[in-house]
C-alpha cells in the first residue's frame, strides 16, 4: 500500500495548482498527483479565450464581483465571489512569474481584452490558446517540486472512506491492470466536469465526470447539477470550441438572412465595434437561447449536423485574426474547410461547462472530512446558474490554490493513518471490479450503445429548453440504462492498457452524473441562468433562490436545498 499525505485526483489546471500550493505549505508533505492521462493532456489545454482578473486602474473588485453575480443570475454565493475576485489578480501574476506567455501591450504589461458579460476589459490571454499555455506553464513548473509524485495513467475507481473520513483511493494501473491502493490524510478531487454525458460538446473524451461520481458515491452531495452551460459558438458535428474571444475581438453572429439577430432579444443596439455586455458580448446562456429561438422561427441554416448560424470575422482583417485568433483560423480551416478571413464560420450552441459539481465551501472543503475539491468538478458556488467566460481558468487557480493549502493544513494536523480496514476495503473494490468489469463473463450490450442512448436522453430532457414530461422521460431512460449497464460486453480481457474497461468505468460514472443533472433540473420549477423551462419560464426568487443538493440513494438522487449567501448585491432583474 502506497502512502502519501495528500492525494490529488486529476492533473489539470486545478490539480496542478493545488499540488504546487500544497508543496509550498510545507517541505514535509508528500503529494501524490493521480491522473488517468498525462497532465498535459488534461482538458484545461483546450481552453482558448482567456482568464479574468482585476489588474487595471479602470477596473475594481466590486465591478468584477457584480458582473459575476449578475451573470450567475444571483445564484452565486456572494462571499465566495468576493473572495474569488480579490485573489484572482495575484494568481494570474503568479502564473506570469511561472512563465506563462501572456500576450503583452507595447509597454510590456500583460494585455487584457473584452469578454462576454464583463463590464470592462479584464480578460488576460495568451493569443487564443490561454488554457494550453496556462496548463503547460503549471505542469512544467510542477516538475520543480520533487515532493509532487505523479501517478500517470492511473484511473481512480473509488474513494476509501472509513470512520466518516476519506482515507485514500483505489486506482487501476493502466500499465498492468493492477489495483493500486494509495493511502493519504487528505484527497483533493480536480477531475473536471462531465460534458460527455451530452452528445454535442466542446469537451474532450476524458470529461466524464469521474470525480463528481466518486464523491457522490462516497456520500457527498452534488450541488446545482441542473446548470449546464451551452457555449453559443461550437462547430457543428464535432462540437469543437470557437472561442468567445472571437466575439470579444468584434465578431458578429448572423442568421441565414445575414442579420445580426441578437438585437431582437434585448441585447442591442448593434454597433460596428463591440460594446461590453451587449450584442455578441452578452452572456452565454442568453446567446444560446437566442440561437434556439431563431431556430424555432426558421431563421437558421440547415446542415448535415443540424441547424447553425454564421460567426462572421471577415471584417476584422487578416492581420488581427493572425495576431489575436490564429488558433480559430486553424480550427476553422482544418475542421470545416472555412478560412474566417474570407468566409463566416458555421456555429451552434454546444455543451461546454457544468456550473454544478461537488459541494464545497470557500476553502474547497466538502462535507466529508479530508475530502476537498476544486475546479469545474467543484461547486463553491461562484458561477451560480451561469458562468461568465474567462472566469473558469481563474477559478482553477484561485480555488486550486485554496484547496491545496486547506488540504495541506489539514494533513499536517492529522496522525498517520492505520491501514487495516483499508486493506479489506481495497480487496472488496478489486472483487467488485473483477466481477462487474475486468473478468465479466457474457453480456450483450455494447458500451457505445448505452452511452449514445444516455447522450440522447440528456439532449432531449436536459437541453437548452426543458419541460417536465421530457425530463421525467429522461429520468426513466437513465434508470433503465443503469439496469442495462450491468449487462455490457467486455471483449478486451487483457491486463495491459485495457481501454474498454476504462470506457466502461467512465460510462458507469457518467450514468450517475446524468441522473443527478436531470433530477435536479426536474425539481427546479423555475427558469434561471442556463436552466430554462418552457413550463416555468420565469425566475422565482421566493421559492428557488437556493442551491440544489443531490444525494445519492439506490433509488436515485434525493434532492435537498441550501440557501444562497447574499452579502451586498440584492437580486434584481437580469437585463443586459
Amino acid at each position: 500500500m502506497l502512502t502519501h499525505d495528500i492525494i490529488i485526483v486529476g492533473g489539470g489546471g486545478a490539480g496542478l495548482r493545488a499540488a504546487i500550493a500544497a508543496a509550498e505549505v510545507s517541505q514535509k508533505l508528500s503529494i501524490a498527483l493521480v491522473s488517468k492521462v498525462y497532465p498535459m493532456r488534461s482538458h484545461t489545454v483546450s481552453a482558448e479565450g482567456g482568464t479574468a482578473a482585476v489588474l487595471r486602474d479602470f477596473d475594481n473588485l466590486d465591478l468584477h464581483a457584480k458582473d459575476t453575480i449578475f451573470g450567475a443570475d444571483f445564484l452565486a454565493d456572494q462571499d465566495a465571489v468576493e473572495l474569488f475576485v480579490k485573489e484572482a489578480p495575484g494568481e494570474l501574476i503568479q502564473l506570469e512569474h511561472w512563465g506563462c506567455p501572456w500576450s503583452r501591450d507595447p509597454d510590456g504589461r500583460v494585455s487584457v481584452r473584452s469578454f462576454g458579460g464583463m463590464s470592462v476589459d479584464r480578460t488576460l490571454f495568451a493569443a487564443d490558446k490561454t488554457g494550453f499555455h496556462l496548463l503547460h506553464a503549471l505542469f512544467q513548473t510542477s516538475l520543480k517540486y520533487d515532493r509532487i509524485v505523479r501517478y500517470d495513467e492511473c484511473f481512480v475507481t473509488s474513494l476509501l472512506v472509513d470512520g466518516g473520513r476519506v482515507r485514500g483511493i483505489t486506482a487501476l494501473n493502466l500499465y498492468n491492470g493492477q489495483l493500486e491502493v494509495i493511502v493519504a490524510k487528505a484527497v483533493i478531487v480536480c477531475t473536471g466536469g462531465g460534458g460527455r454525458v451530452f452528445p454535442f460538446t466542446t469537451n474532450a473524451a476524458i470529461k466524464t465526470g469521474d470525480g463528481m461520481a466518486l464523491a457522490y458515491r462516497a456520500g457527498v452531495p452534488l450541488k446545482d447539477m441542473e446548470f449546464v452551460q451551452y457555449h453559443p459558438t461550437g462547430l457543428p458535428g464535432t462540437g469543437i470550441l470557437i472561442t468567445e474571444a472571437s466575439r470579444g475581438e468584434g465578431g458578429w453572429l448572423k442568421n441565414k438572412d445575414g442579420y445580426r439577430y441578437l438585437q431582437d432579444y434585448g441585447l442591442g443596439p448593434p454597433t460596428d465595434t463591440p460594446v461590453h455586455r451587449k450584442m455578441e458580448l452578452g452572456p452565454r446562456d442568453i446567446l444560446s437561447r437566442c440561437h434556439m429561438q431563431e431556430y424555432s422561427k426558421g431563421r437558421t441554416f440547415e446542415g448535415p449536423y443540424g441547424h447553425y448560424v454564421h460567426l462572421d470575422l471577415s471584417h476584422l482583417g487578416e492581420e488581427v485574426i493572425d495576431k489575436k485568433l490564429p488558433f480559430v483560423r486553424e480550427l476553422a480551416r482544418n475542421y470545416v474547410g472555412i478560412d474566417p478571413v474570407y468566409e463566416p464560420i458555421p456555429v451552434r450552441p454546444v455543451v461546454h461547462y457544468m456550473m454544478g459539481g461537488i459541494h464545497t465551501d470557500v476553502t474547497g472543503k466538502t462535507p466529508l472530512d479530508g475530502l476537498y475539491a476544486a475546479g469545474e468538478t467543484a461547486c463553491v458556488s461562484i458561477n451560480g446558474a451561469n458562468r461568465l467566460g474567462s472566469n473558469s481558468l481563474t477559478e482553477l487557480l484561485v480555488f486550486g490554490a485554496r484547496a491545496g493549502r486547506a488540504a495541506a493544513e489539514y494533513a499536517l494536523g492529522q496522525p498517520s493513518p492505520t491501514s487495516n480496514p483499508l486493506e479489506a476495503m481495497a480487496k472488496d473494490e478489486r472483487q467488485r471490479l473483477d466481477r462487474n468489469l475486468i473478468r465479466k463473463p457474457g453480456g450483450k450490450e455494447r458500451i457505445a450503445a448505452i452511452r449514445q442512448e444516455m447522450q440522447k436522453a440528456m439532449e432531449d430532457g436536459a437541453g437548452i429548453y426543458r419541460k417536465e414530461d421530457e425530463m421525467k422521460n429522461s429520468c426513466n431512460i437513465l434508470r433503465q440504462l443503469r439496469e442495462r449497464f450491468s449487462n455490457i460486453i467486455i471483449e478486451d480481457r487483457g491486463d495491459v492498457f485495457n481501454t474498454e474497461v476504462t470506457s466502461a468505468l467512465e460510462l458507469d460514472f457518467m450514468l450517475d452524473v446524468a441522473e443527478a443533472v436531470v433530477h435536479s433540473a426536474l425539481n427546479r420549477k423555475e427558469s434561471r441562468g442556463s436552466h430554462t423551462r418552457t413550463d416555468f419560464p420565469k425566475r422565482d426568487d421566493a421559492q428557488f433562490l437556493k442551491h440544489t443538493l443531490a444525494h445519492r440513494t439506490p433509488q436515485g438522487p434525493r434532492i435537498e436545498y441550501l440557501p444562497v449567501t447574499i452579502t451586498r448585491w440584492q437580486p434584481e432583474e437580469r437585463k443586459y
Binding site: 509524485v149 501517478y151 495513467e153 494501473n173 500499465y175 495491459v496
Partner: protein, 137 residues
C-alpha cells in the same frame, strides 16, 4: 516523476533497419547531403595532389592534368561539382534557419534568404568563369 511505469518485460522494442533512410524522401536527401562532404573531400585530395605536381615541374603538372581529362575523371569532377552545389544550397537553407534575418519586426522569408545567397553564388561563379575564359581565351 511518475512512479508508475510500464512493465519493461512486456514492451515491444521496434528495431531500425539499415535501410531506414530509404523510407522517406527527406531522409534520402539528408543522406545525399551527408555524402556530399565525402565527394568534396575526395575532390580536395585530388586537387591538392594536382597542386603538388607543380613541385615536380611543368611537364609533370601537364601530364597529371592530362590524366584528369579522361572520361572517368571528368565524370567524377562533374559529380563532385553537383554534390558541392547541393551542399551549398542546403547550407544556405540551414543558415536561414540558424540565423533568422529580421528587418524591423518582420522576418525575412527563408526562400528569399536562400535565393539571395544563390544569386551571390551565381554572380561570383560567373565572375570567376569569365576571368578563366579571359585568361585562357
Amino acid at each position: 516523476m511518475s512512479e508508475i511505469r510500464p512493465d519493461k518485460s512486456k514492451l515491444y522494442h521496434p528495431k531500425m533497419t539499415s535501410t531506414w533512410w530509404l523510407k522517406r524522401p527527406n531522409y534520402v536527401l539528408f543522406m545525399l547531403r551527408e555524402w556530399s562532404s565525402l565527394f568534396i573531400a575526395l575532390f580536395l585530395v585530388v586537387f591538392l595532389i594536382q597542386l603538388h605536381q607543380l613541385t615536380y615541374g611543368p611537364d609533370a603538372y601537364r601530364a597529371f592534368a592530362h590524366r584528369l581529362s579522361s572520361p572517368g575523371w571528368v565524370i567524377f569532377h562533374i559529380v563532385a561539382l553537383l554534390f558541392s552545389l547541393y551542399h551549398s544550397v542546403t547550407w544556405f537553407y540551414s543558415s536561414a534557419i540558424v540565423m533568422p534575418l529580421r528587418i524591423g519586426e518582420r522576418l525575412v522569408p527563408r526562400q528569399l534568404v536562400v535565393g539571395l545567397n544563390l544569386l551571390v553564388l551565381a554572380v561570383v561563379s560567373i565572375v570567376i568563369l569569365a576571368l578563366f575564359i579571359k585568361l585562357h581565351g
